[in-house]
């Protein structure tokens, strides 16, 4: 994954002719990753491990989609969690009330999310960076308030209770924990693969150019507003899938899924893992969840421990873990080249 062109931040040659075969390499990589994940339940008999991977899938999709905005386009959204919440609530409500099949409910939820993202994005993406952050945050809190106050539909602060039915579809029975696990892994791998293709497409390079210099991009005829809105909606869809996995996992939906802290966690996951590599957010997700789980198990003073770790990343490493690893690898490679 070293062809991610970190150097392009300087603005030089954002279009790199990309050999076609790297798409096949991505697919190969995805298939291997899926095979490894799918083999886990047969190698280890641990429900906790499966639960962990399911949570990683939900948050990983969410965080990686946020990186499409933060890392690739330079849109710092503080309200991305609203689409995670919309996914969880939309899917949960459709399953509870409309009595539809799981794939249909997922498609409908995606349609609802897309609609909401188009409306919210159309208002937000015009704004400059700090105001963009705050208006997305305001929309997030607005949706959270609607969820809290619309008790007859959403159950208010109690959340969607009573569980979510999981009718069998295409021979897949999601009441079975292993099948739910494999289903989540499949969604994760497919989602990551699609996002990777978006990031590596000409559109993805347009986004990088907008991040580096929006004025120049508009001079060469790119409709900046439309490109930003498109990526805003695309990212919302993947975040919504993350929300759906979460909703299936906890068999419900809670107002916390739409609270701003989810967006905050997404941002911190991105910072921990690093925003300059595609898989950085995924690494960040695993890191934050491990950190969360161990810190809450070992100590009551979870906040102090997590705070110190974050400080170490922000002031010590000064970048995410993957950025650090990539830089380290480059330095090592260059050194190896110099000494034949």
């Amino acid at each position: 994954m070293s062809d991610l062109n970190v150097e392009n931040r300087a603005g030089a040659a954002p279009f790199v002719a990309r050999p076609r075969r790297t798409a096949y390499i991505d697919i190969l990589f995805a298939v291997i990753a899926f095979a490894v994940l799918a083999a886990l339940p047969f190698l280890f008999d641990s429900k906790a491990l499966l639960d962990f991977v399911i949570r990683c899938s939900a948050f990983g999709l969410f965080a990686t989609s946020l990186n499409l905005l933060v890392g690739y386009t330079g849109l710092i959204s503080f309200g991305h969690g609203m689409f995670f919440g919309l996914g969880a609530y939309g899917f949960g409500l459709l399953m509870q009330r409309a009595n539809v099949s799981i794939p249909l409910a997922m498609l409908c939820t995606l349609a609802i999310t897309a609609l909401a993202a188009v409306v919210i994005g159309a208002i937000c993406v015009r704004l400059k960076e700090i105001y963009f952050a705050f208006v997305t945050l305001a929309f997030q809190m607005l949706i959270h308030s609607v969820i809290l106050s619309w008790q007859s539909l959403t159950g208010g602060d109690q959340g969607l209770r009573g569980g979510i039915k999981r009718p069998v579809f295409w021979g897949i029975d999601l009441t079975n924990h292993v099948q739910l696990y494999i289903f989540s892994c499949a969604l994760l791998v497919i989602g990551l693969l699609l996002m990777r293709q978006i990031a590596q497409s000409p559109f993805g390079y347009t986004l990088r150019m907008i991040r580096d210099n929006a004025t120049r991009a508009s001079f060469i005829g790119i409709n900046v507003w439309r490109a930003k809105l498109t990526v805003f909606v695309l990212a919302a869809l993947f975040a919504s899938v993350g929300g759906m996995i979460m909703s299936l996992f906890v068999s419900g939906a809670y107002p916390e899924f739409a609270y701003w802290t989810i967006s905050g966690e997404g941002i911190f996951i991105n910072m921990l893992g690093g925003v300059t590599t595609f898989l950085g957010p995924m690494v960040g997700t695993v890191l934050l969840l491990i950190l969360n789980d161990t810190a809450t198990r070992l100590t009551e003073h979870y906040g102090i421990v997590l705070g110190v770790v974050i400080l170490f990343f922000a002031l010590g490493l000064r970048k995410g873990l993957m950025d650090f690893a990539v830089d380290w690898y480059r330095a090592w490679r260059d050194k190896a080249r110099e000494q034949p």
């Binding site: 705050f134 809190m141 607005l142 106050s149 208010g156 991105n270 910072m271 906040g303 102090i304």
Partner: protein
């Protein structure tokens, strides 16, 4: 939704007075927090995400000061000075390392300290709800203005905030230090080249902002209950205030805070469950109409 209650209230002067005063105290407390936030942003260009923690420190220090001495004045001083000292150390040791770095890094450092500060308060004062109780001097019958009930403590709170607003406004506009601060906000390199210690200016502005948040916490201590993490909702609300008023504008912070206070107090009658929602809706409307806020200059 309970629009009848809202309309009924607007028809009676007693209810209007009561709701307006409660709106004013919400607004004034928010103003004290938000004005610090906006000052720090204006001069240091830092969005202090941990500002709510200083409000919390102010309240807890005031509680300790009051328990030690029994004097509310001492409690106020404890709150303001304690928050200022912690703020100064925080700025010198940590925040000064992230000046000019990207916004995400700054937010990350502040977020880390939100977690650390909240947990430290939990360690020192305990996790349970605390309350200070109304100081003896203010345990007097409330005043009645046009039929509405107004506790004297509310008058004190509102006047203290107004005095602070006036002092800040005049001080920044007229005094030498105020002029230096405004110059540093505009062009720190030039100010530094003129032989003025900008690090000291930055430190003192940050400490001043924290002192104001601490004062707000101390003033709120008799009327609100205290809990670790209490700073957070205040922080979000004061962000809304600064964004509505315009980042970096003191007048904007005052107007924004009063508007939010009134929206909260009257909104809680008409839309008891959607009071927060009203606030966010208002922010969205203002920002869509004027992306830099009501009094903001085109900075960001």
């Amino acid at each position: 939704m309970d629009l009848d209650a809202l309309i009924g209230c607007l028809g009676s002067s007693a209810c209007v007075v009561t709701q307006t005063t409660s709106g004013l105290i919400i607004g004034m407390l928010l103003f004290l927090v938000a004005v610090g936030l906006t000052l720090i942003f204006g001069v240091l260009k830092i969005v202090n995400f941990s500002h709510g923690a200083f409000y919390m420190f102010g309240a807890y220090f005031a509680l300790t000061g009051y328990q030690l001495t029994g004097s509310f004045i001492v409690a106020l001083l404890f709150g303001a000075i304690g928050a200022a000292i912690i703020g100064l150390i925080f700025e010198r040791v940590f925040i000064s390392r992230v000046y000019g770095r990207d916004v995400l890094m700054q937010l990350l450092v502040c977020y880390a300290f939100v977690l650390i500060f909240d947990d430290s308060v939990k360690l020192i004062w305990g996790a349970e709800f605390k309350s200070m109780g109304m100081p003896a001097a203010f345990q007097v019958p409330p005043w009645f203005i046009a039929g509405g009930v107004v506790p004297p403590f509310y008058i004190l709170l509102i006047s203290v905030a107004l005095v602070v607003a006036a002092l800040l406004g005049i001080g920044l506009a007229r005094s030498r230090l105020g002029k230096v601060i405004r110059a540093a906000a505009h062009n720190p390199d030039m100010v530094s080249a003129l032989g003025i210690n900008t690090a000291m200016i930055y430190g003192s502005v940050f400490a001043l902002g924290c002192a104001l948040a601490g004062l707000a916490g101390a003033l709120a201590a008799p009327v609100r209950s205290m809990t670790p993490g209490m700073g957070f909702s205040v922080l979000i609300e004061s962000f809304i205030v600064t964004v509505i008023g315009g980042m970096g504008s003191i007048l904007g912070a005052l107007i924004g805070a009063l508007l939010i206070g009134l929206i909260r107090s009257f909104g809680s009658l008409g839309f008891p469950l959607f009071t927060d929602g009203l606030m966010y809706l208002f922010m969205v409307i203002v920002l869509v109409a004027r992306p830099t806020g009501l009094f903001g200059k085109d900075v960001a």
